[in-house]
Symmetry: C2
Subunit: 344 residues, 2 copies
Amino acid sequence: MIGRGMDHSAENLARQGEDRERGRELAAGVLAGERRSLARAITLVESARAEDRVAASALLDAVAGVGDSLRIGLTGPPGVGKSTFVEAFGRHIVGQGKRLAVLAVDPSSARTGGSILGDKTRMELLVREPNAFIRPSPSGAALGGVARRTAESLRLCEAAGFDVVIVETVGVGQSETMVADLTDIFTLLIPPAGGDELQGVKRGVMEMADILLINKADGALADTARATAADYAGALHLLRRRPGDPDGAPSAAAVSAATGAGVAEAWERIVAIDAWRRAEGWRDRRRADQAARRLRIEIEARLWERFASDPAAQAQLAALDGEVRRGALEPAAAAELIVRGGGD
Amino acid sequence: MIGRGMDHSAENLARQGEDRERGRELAAGVLAGERRSLARAITLVESARAEDRVAASALLDAVAGVGDSLRIGLTGPPGVGKSTFVEAFGRHIVGQGKRLAVLAVDPSSARTGGSILGDKTRMELLVREPNAFIRPSPSGAALGGVARRTAESLRLCEAAGFDVVIVETVGVGQSETMVADLTDIFTLLIPPAGGDELQGVKRGVMEMADILLINKADGALADTARATAADYAGALHLLRRRPGDPDGAPSAAAVSAATGAGVAEAWERIVAIDAWRRAEGWRDRRRADQAARRLRIEIEARLWERFASDPAAQAQLAALDGEVRRGALEPAAAAELIVRGGGD
């Protein structure tokens, strides 16, 4: 079989040993809570270089099972004021004596190649807090890759002793699903709007939310935001009755990143849900399901890598690709020929 | 290697020959434009039974490259009036002397297991048209599976001589991406709303749309719908400048499924875009890219099937699954052990 045992030379084995040692050393720094080690460790797991993969694997093995953070997912549509909210929310959390890490995920679309999130230094005040660690994710990778790397970065923050990790992203494409699948509590930030626009919110995203926060509850929009929160709260109770919620439905509340109104209450609500879920076993069940799904994704990725490094399969693929593109051969039929024909 | 050459008995080979013959016979009926054959052929490609896969494969091979339909994708949020619009739009197309197939895709979420689209018999008038063929997709499958089967059903409609195939689905989760990736022209149906709610539309979906239609341009909402169309038209021209559009940006127009206002114009616009894209080579390029992506998906599916039918790998998976769920072993590390350890 291809892609394995390809280079068992003494030189290569020695190099792999050094890479593993590099990973373990970094793990020691992470476990000691050193910020520089954590930053370097995240850079390592984000790296696509083969030798870094060996080191990253040793690093992650060395921190397996260590740490116990509350993992909060936060998304919202562009323009809802997410960065400002994370700044206010994060400062409140740090003010409670908690150590906070923020992973800002940028689901740069493969289509545009561009960055959606823009400049992360907008969190000017939070950045200066000694107990806060803010990390933007690398752009350019496909969403699947971002999800895998973010899961590992989250594990590293946890191992470094952070009490709370916020995974934050703009709500586009599948990014909400990704964030919900990485975290314990999924928070959806939405703008104030009349109740009759409820339909416009993607139902799939509503289904995932544990908490809805209606931002911009200040100035001229304060009343609208409160009315929107009331509308959503009512709708959520009507729409859903699900296990895993202390009240049988997610909550909705108005907040203002600008004035800080509702921020403390949002945090208290999250803490209360988490405490209840831990006690009832829901948190562990959710994490177990997430881990099982990630295992499948990791296996699929490795099966593809093995396929991609198989010269016979690649030759078959190259031979049939043109016919498939022209429409002369169905993709399924070509795949059948390629997978049956190559690989060993 | 596992999963192949497992049963080369004479009996099994004879059975496979019969299955292939069954597929080829059905193909003859499809190519003759027989509706019953088409319906049975779609049922065959939707089947998950192993013997049906052999027959389906022969069927698809036999119709490869036949047909030349205009493939239109149509999605919109729940409640926008999609079925009513497809009925009005479809009757207009049939009225132009075209043969029309409608594939109504139901992206039943793995989460809820339920059907979102509901009763397809709502298209009461279109259903009675002799030149229209309406087919709801099976519910219950995962989105990836629905996409694969819908692509094949679409090919069958095309081979049966339909001039136009509409792939219609409610806009939830990733279903829009799926529909856009199956069709030549992606149409997004949205409700009337003030221009300042533009932000609420998922940017990723806007990026995909070739045409935006603002529905319900009748009665009390007529003016709002027209204003919304004007807002979007302006925004789209500001936001985008892309190749593959005759005017460098998608268009936006108000329509009414109830009165039929704007329906003829929407059809003319689609025909004009398609004619321009064919002439400029954009249609073939888009289809080639779609086929290449589908090839990758089909290969990935077969790699997974091969893995899932490998007893050694499955034993490894079973042994490590519990550790992964408990958080004692990282999914990536477990995947490494499983893929390196099993498979041959």
